[in-house]
Symmetry: C2
DNA sequence: AGCGTAGGTGTACGTTGTACACCTCGTCAA
DNA sequence: TTGACGAGGTGTACAACGTACACCTACGCT
């Protein structure tokens, strides 16, 4: 006689979400289907729907779980710039722990608690740092996705290979893009042996550019043009 | 007797792509399946595969088609800032003509001719304007998605409604997000009667912030820290 | 003792991308 | 004139997907 059913620990929303995150971490986002996830949990696909409303809801929950890892310190010593920088870099760390999270965040439109919580934290730091609500608003927009700790991959080296299979259009001719080539050659010269761009540098470069620019506006008491 | 088969104008890659763009424009991206598209063209689904390699290739082609609408003037009068601004706003116009394009561009990783062409044009304007290849590189990264004329929708008003159906987690309590509320109230006060944010203003605000900051670096002869 | 309900099961349906074999022409060499 | 060839459209088929719906089962309550 086999062992008794062992009375599995029952499913729950957190358990489902955690399993989904783990599955995506290991096998990639494409492997996250209701069926695979159910298999992983030793359960039938439809059982998941007792804990998540739909696949969309599952993805929202996964993003929420990852962003729940972000920790934000309160404003310290009145240095809003360092505080915001720290919050954003904490988000970056969380997102980098889960390679699929970037893409997932981009496609989500729903504002779940952890998402709102992070936005609230950053906004609060700006207000505490002397930003007017008006300027804080525009600052959030200007930061955009960088709030979540990532910037778009403008030059994705790995994409070309992946596309080789089914592409119909001809491969582009480098001679048509002299400026890109010039820039890319200089980048390689500066970082010999490196593959692709230094994403961390690019991220902080742009982040600091924005924070500096915003600080100038704050000091100058900038405000929206009336009527806009 | 019905009209003779009318010897339909044969399919071709451009015709398939144009039909896909039109279909997405009218019925949304979700309606772009190989079957629907084939229906629209009066053809059987598999016929499309003679002209596009896969659905991925189709989407790449759609993005390429839209970005092909972008026109970029050469540098005029040495004002790189106005020229770049113009190129970016031209891309924005193209993307806004096709509501689905934003999301589609974000998910594409392949660099098709029109995509590369636009990147090349902007890079060339920077170089012609006195940017070092080094700084031009970082400038492109800093601009990020704004190159394509859009910025992430941080506060998407319509998303909440759409999610109401299958959401499992409870609706967020506004009392937990005082800073967001403060900012949002001020925004509403400044634009009474407006629904949501003024995306055009937010876009140019952030764009000009970046262009100004980059111009300062250019004037100062900024260059990458060695070793990074 | 019995009933309601939370939670897991089983089956089924419609839709998706696309592999593969086929057919039907128009073009061109012999 | 013929006959082969290849480009391009057809038909069928399959595996995978999300999820609606009816069902069962077992626990906590009164």
């Amino acid at each position: 006689m086999p062992a008794p059913p062992a009375s599995r620990t029952p499913l729950s929303r957190p358990r489902v979400l955690a399993a989904a995150v783990a599955l995506a971490d290991v096998d990639g986002m494409a492997a996250v289907s209701m069926r695979h996830l159910a298999d992983r949990l030793g359960v039938v696909p439809m059982a998941l729907y007792k804990h998540v409303g739909s696949k969309e809801d599952l993805l929202d929950g996964m993003v929420d779980t990852v962003l729940g890892e972000v920790v934000t310190a309160g404003p310290r010593g009145g240095d809003w710039r360092a505080a915001v920088r720290g919050a954003v870099l904490s988000a970056r760390a969380a997102v980098q722990r889960h390679p699929w999270a970037r893409r997932a965040i981009e496609t989500r439109t729903v504002r779940t608690p952890a998402v709102l919580g992070h936005m609230e934290a950053v906004t609060a730091l700006l207000l505490a740092g002397g930003f007017s609500p008006d300027l804080a608003h525009h600052a959030m927009h200007a930061l955009g996705n960088r709030i979540w700790g990532f910037s778009p991959e403008l030059f994705d080296e790995t994409a070309e290979d992946r596309a080789a299979g089914t592409r119909t259009s001809p491969a582009p001719d480098p001679a048509d893009y002299p400026s890109i080539i010039a820039v890319s050659l200089e980048a390689r010269r500066r970082r010999p042996g490196a593959a692709g761009c230094d994403e961390d540098f690019e991220f902080t470069f742009a982040l600091d550019l924005l924070l500096d620019a915003l600080d100038r506006l704050r000091r100058d008491g900038w405000e929206s043009p009336t009527g806009a």
